[in-house]
Subunit: 159 residues, 2 copies
Amino acid sequence: MTVTIRPATPQDAALILRFIRELAEFEREPDAVKATEEGLRHALFGERSAEAVIAEQEGKPMGFALFFHNFSTWTGRKGLYLEDLYVTPEARGSGVGTALLRHLAGIALDRGCGRFEWAVLDWNTPAIDFYTAMGAESLDEWRIRRVTGEALAKLADRG
Amino acid sequence: MTVTIRPATPQDAALILRFIRELAEFEREPDAVKATEEGLRHALFGERSAEAVIAEQEGKPMGFALFFHNFSTWTGRKGLYLEDLYVTPEARGSGVGTALLRHLAGIALDRGCGRFEWAVLDWNTPAIDFYTAMGAESLDEWRIRRVTGEALAKLADRG
């Protein structure tokens, strides 16, 4: 079945939130999603903190990708960072994920990005195998650190 | 010795490139830096793909931090991502790194960011211990994937 990719519009905010929640469930963090439909609409189409594309098969939304630009001091250029990639269970294996990745790689090239990057859970073997097949290399030495909530206020000396 | 943090200016491009190269050497990737002074000036002060701050002691630059905004679909808010943090060998242990982290945490709060994040090399024990003492949590399950160069062109079907 043909997959078409289109930019998300403000009318897609509820759909995107649904996909985000389904992805969080798959990632074993169903309660992690604090985002709201209105907040997403503002972030994506008002503030423009990130961008999203919707994948459709015969006019039906089957997945999405949300991305923003990062920056590499080594390349001296901006990169494209994929925050979320999601394909609905019914559409898995039908080329939606591949179409989304190829589309984003094209955007990265069009915008002069030196790199296209994302993170994967170390137990998500199907995704890891898929990404390897798509030509992605693994940056095994790097670990993410995060400060949030009270720890962030304390670090800023505003606790 | 008092540490002052100031925003970088276009006149700092050469200094920032020097710091980026010194950091890449420390990270065992001395040949990885392709960035140029002119490219950095454009990225930071023209295109504004990222921002940088300089740490000084008695007017002498002793380190820098380079950061940009990422976005979390779980919080629905932008975050602050620290791409590079560097302190010159002579200034290590004198509070420059702490001052930079605290300053960036303050920027994150001022801008309504839900998270302050960065990556660390898994063998860089002094940095890991420092970040833990600063209240950072470790996202051990996540691994970075990257597509670049010919693999990126191939993924975009432009090989």
